[in-house]
């Protein structure tokens, strides 16, 4: 499986500068880059200087709307050329979205397209935020809010140009996405290792780091963050949850929340599988099938589900789990 990193961020937030820096790093070699440029005349790919063992492909059109097929075709073509030896045997893919792209449908495409899904695994979402204009952009542009909300890593760029420590920006980022580590890049410079392995699986060590993926440092101490548009909170349950309850929960969330469920990720203590927790991940109404880990990653055996939503009350989710679990338990008792 080849990990795919989605690099997103609003127009002018420093994605291409970051990418240019990364491509010069040894740790970032053997990487295939797909640059999405929205418009007839693309420039970004001209600005990226690649190493000999990396490959750059260009995808035109806005990834998030009508031409998602273009992304799939580009990825499939890259894989074909890799198999044929026509391009270096890249071990990682980075998709740089256009600044106006909604990342959620792109994530869904990576999750659901049969052409590519069997060979690619989502490594995570990295979102760049401009230290100088980021706060104003977040106040003005709804799409930039969404880009921040779904991120696994946030990279504040142009810190060298900003006057102070940008407390307002950092406060907004924490409100939008408490679980994502906030990294700093100056002139695009950042340690590539900080960006890798933003998903639950580390392809280098072939190990799982679910705790980091869930951003639990943030959620341990503050279970709910409020923003005018986006709410991030963690559902924490001590008692195990029946497998059927989890299925009904995910179906109900998909059915009623749709696009307002920006992202969900979690580890769940399943009553029928006490020693092997389930890892869940969803973007809007698209969910991965739960993956059962071989063992608990730590002594903490509580179910923890991080929800990033637009206006879905935590109290509703809690009430839904309580009621579903009671109904499932009742049915189970009736059958015995």
């Amino acid at each position: 499986m080849i990990p795919v990193l989605l690099l997103t961020g609003f127009l002018g937030s420093g994605k291409t500068t970051l990418l240019s820096h990364l491509l010069r790093q040894r740790d970032f070699s053997r990487t295939a880059i797909i640059i999405n440029e929205f418009g007839e005349i693309g420039l970004d790919h001209e600005l990226v200087e690649k190493s000999d063992d990396s490959v750059i492909a260009l995808s035109t059109g806005c990834l998030c709307c009508k031409v998602r097929g273009d992304l799939v075709e580009t990825l499939a073509d890259l894989l074909r050329r890799r198999d044929a030896g026509a391009v270096p045997p890249f071990t990682r893919v980075v998709i740089e979205t256009s600044g106006l792209a909604d990342p959620a449908p792109i994530l869904q495409t990576l999750m659901t397209d049969s052409t590519i899904a069997e060979r690619l695994v989502l490594d995570g979402v990295v979102t760049t935020v401009d230290a100088v204009n980021g706060a104003a952009t977040l106040a003005r542009e709804a799409i930039s809010v969404k880009q921040v909300a779904v991120a696994d890593r946030l990279v504040v760029t142009k810190s060298d140009l900003a006057d102070a420590a940008q407390p307002a920006l950092h406060g907004r980022l924490a409100a939008l996405n408490a679980g994502a580590p906030v990294l700093q890049a100056q002139h695009g410079a950042i340690d590539p290792q900080l960006l890798f392995n933003a998903g639950p699986y580390d392809p280098c060590t072939k190990s799982l780091d679910v705790r980091a993926w869930l951003g639990e440092g943030a959620h341990d101490h503050q279970h709910e963050r409020h923003d005018a548009e986006i709410q991030t909170y963690a559902i924490v349950r001590t008692a195990p949850i029946h497998a059927v309850t989890l299925t009904l929960l995910l179906e109900t969330l998909a059915e009623h929340c749709g696009a307002d469920l920006l992202r969900l990720k979690g580890i769940v203590n399943i009553a029928e599988s006490p020693d092997r927790p389930a890892v869940i991940h969803g973007v809007q109404h698209v969910f991965h099938a739960p993956t059962f880990l071989p063992r608990w990653p730590s002594a903490d055996r509580r179910s923890r589900i991080v929800m990033i939503t637009r206006g879905i009350p935590q109290a509703w989710i809690e009430a839904l789990i309580d009621a579903l679990e009671a109904e499932v338990a009742e049915v189970s008792e009736e059958r015995h």
């Binding site: 995910l250 109900t252 998909a254 009623h256 109404h285 991965h288 993956t291 009350p313 509703w316």
Partner: protein, 100 residues
């Protein structure tokens, strides 16, 4: 239905109205049924008779429908109360979250 389960169902319906941004009320009736009222629409929710293949009966006006689970109850309630509701169907990803 146990009193505890009834309480949880009531609470779920109350929280559902809030989540769906619908102004209404949820009330438990003396016979154990639950009544949801919103925009002059009254919906009665009660346990189905044991000889029917449903867990719940949902009555709206003179129409009564069965529901096999709470998610099915929620769907019927929302379809009745929320004219803008467009149901999303869950889609399961093909790709792995973690390589096998």
């Amino acid at each position: 239905m146990s009193a505890a389960a009834n309480d949880l169902t009531c609470e779920l319906l109350k929280q559902s109205l809030i989540a769906w941004r619908l102004a209404g009320s949820v009330e438990r009736k003396g016979d154990g049924a639950i009544e949801v009222s919103c925009s002059e629409i009254d919906i009665r929710i009660e346990r189905a008779p044991s000889d029917l293949p449903f867990r719940w009966m949902v009555t709206l006006g003179r129409r009564q429908r069965g529901a096999i689970s709470l998610p099915a109850v929620l769907r019927q309630v929302r379809e009745a109360l929320d004219p803008d509701y467009a149901r999303n169907k869950v889609r399961v990803a093909i790709s792995s979250l973690v390589p096998s």
